[in-house]
Amino acid sequence: MKPETIQLTPTEAFTARSRAVLADAQKRRSFRGAMDFLQEKRRAQFPDADEFEGLRDLCEALRRESLAQLPRLLEELEQKLIANGVKVHWAESADEANAIALAIARAADARLIVKGKSMVSEEIGFNHAMAEAGIEALESDLGEYIVQLAGEGPSHIIMPAIHKTKGEIAELFAEKIPGTAYTDDVDALIAIGREVLRRKFAVADVGISGVNFAVAETGTLCLVENEGNGRMCTSVPRVHIAITGIEKVVAKLAHVAPLYSILTRSATGQPVTTYLNLISGPRKEGELDGPEEVHLILVDHGRTQAYADAQLRATLQCIRCGACINHCPVYARIGGHAYGTTYPGPIGAIASPHFFGLAQTWPLVFASTLCGACGEVCPVRIPIPDLLVRLRAEAVAPEGPALRGAGAAASAPASAVWSAWALVYRNAGLYRFVTWLASRGRRFFPKAQGGWTRARTPLIPAAKRLRDLIKDRKRK
């Protein structure tokens, strides 16, 4: 998966993928069921609206505070990490991040890399880059392992294999894992994955992880997980490489407490995850395990573009809980793969344009009903609907501020239509004339109106305008 090519999302491809899912009753049932389940679990975690709103205020303030001081906090983080014995690398682009990781892996003479869950590694096409260099990068989060076995990417940022039924996974395991008989018992399937991956943890040379929060005050990388594969990847191999976006930094260790709480409750509706793993350095003198080398790769990949704009900066408040995805009526119907980028759903629509450019991602910002559910559930109050509207404007208006790919969706006919619309609505006489013309000429309106009538009745003006109806009534 090379990011610059596969991430290409021409609108036809997006539409085609969406239609394919919409036509698949089984997939639609399974997405709907999963979304209902996740929404209900999250709701149960916030029984007290005052507590929830108070915690949201606090967490939003913490994220905004971190971003306001981002350059200083990143410097502090780097200094503390170096003092702790962690090597810090900065990567402007996806290619640069992969090159840094590859150099570390080569220096470690690595043949096998085990990976904990890292969305940034998906974003930069890490597995593909390693495969090209002849190094196997094996996903060890069970969901990620399943989609990797299937030759797919994750369809959800928290639950990568949410689009698969246990029957499909049972067939996949029986086909792809040597010596595995078909079973669709979930415990048995998990046990199979556990055994396969344990053998890999024991021999892997390098472990990869993401980062949920990077604490500037102490130089600590915080990892949130349930399975324990994150701990395996960061404790067993000789080298640990953490990859994260520059926005994940928080000022103080104490700030992790509320952020961790709102993250797990918003994401999967759990009061807490099984593990919170705080890593503040490599194996120290005398310690008997843990990696001898710990590296952190801080990835920009378009994040500074979002940062430069006072409104779009809010995109970087995200703590990647996925609540907006779980509550999105569009995601619930088309699933994650239709989006064609690493991050699906509302957060994907507002973040991807910065990572991959609007030219390749603009259809995503239009793939929303603007119902507002995403903004309502966001635990750090990112105004997602406002950002969608803003990015729509950027997508059609090339004269806007410097966003990569701005204006990619501009179309002369559309813009002519809107100019005419504006003219008509600004001029009372013209408005009266045009509406008169439309109501008299209604039979000339076509029954087939392109995309609009694919799933809706055609737009035909009324026989009488409102002003005509009022005139009639007065006459009586």
Binding site: S235, H255, V272, L288
Partner: protein, 215 residues
């Protein structure tokens, strides 16, 4: 370059500084140690951990009894006084292995031949039912991760109300080890059709012995 671009960005209006301490102070429950223990136990049992209350005198016998019931043959311990006490009272019931050499020299054996691990908890968190486990020179990281069963010894007096109170009252920022953990149950996953399954990569079972002065 990245930092230069960030610095060049228009400064956002500085938001009011969040007062995390005040949030937790305002929500403090004023519980005593017994109430915190009760809340901790409820929460961690809901995550499928086993909790046994015990005394300084009897926790080892309780542990041996649970180990026997679960068919444990080999137990991995660290270089702690509690571990040594287990060894002293073992009387040949278990094969007790000390984690006293670097992982590189016995990785396969650790992954293949150890049934259970035993560690201390530094403390716990009532709100979420979380054990605070800080691996160390004496108790390496993998004791609490690789064996399929994890035994933990917790002193009831060390249970905090919430994570924030643990971090601030113990001044974690000044004392963090290379690896610090919260453990809130056995390893689990919901990656197959949102069905919870235990023992994903870490321990399948978590058994906590809580020391109570009055037990």
């Amino acid at each position: 370059m990245i930092l230069a671009r960030l610095r060049a960005a228009a400064p956002a209006p500085v938001p009011p500084l969040a007062d995390v301490g005040a949030w937790y102070t305002a929500r403090a429950r004023g519980e005593d140690a017994a109430q915190r223990l009760a809340r901790f136990t409820r929460a961690i049992e809901a995550a499928r951990a086993e909790v046994h209350e015990a005394s300084a005198a009897n926790w080892r016998e309780r542990l041996f009894a649970v180990a026997a019931a679960k068919g444990v043959r080999t137990l991995l311990i660290g270089a702690t006084a509690a571990g040594a006490a287990l060894e002293a009272e073992n009387a040949g019931r278990l094969k007790i292995v000390r984690y006293d050499k670097p992982i590189e020299t016995w990785r396969d054996e650790l992954f293949a031949q150890i049934d259970a691990g035993f560690t201390l908890a530094r403390g716990a968190i009532a709100e979420t039912g979380s054990l605070i486990v800080w691996p160390s020179v004496a108790e390496p990281r993998l004791i609490s991760l690789v064996p399929a069963l994890h035994f933990v010894l917790l002193d009831a007096r060390t249970i905090h109300a919430d994570l924030h109170s643990a971090i601030s009252s113990e001044n974690w920022p000044a004392n963090l080890p290379t690896n610090a953990l919260l453990i809130s149950g056995p390893s689990k996953t919901s990656d197959i059709q949102q069905t919870v399954a235990y023992g994903a990569h870490g321990p399948r079972e978590l058994v906590v012995f809580v020391l109570r002065e009055d037990a």
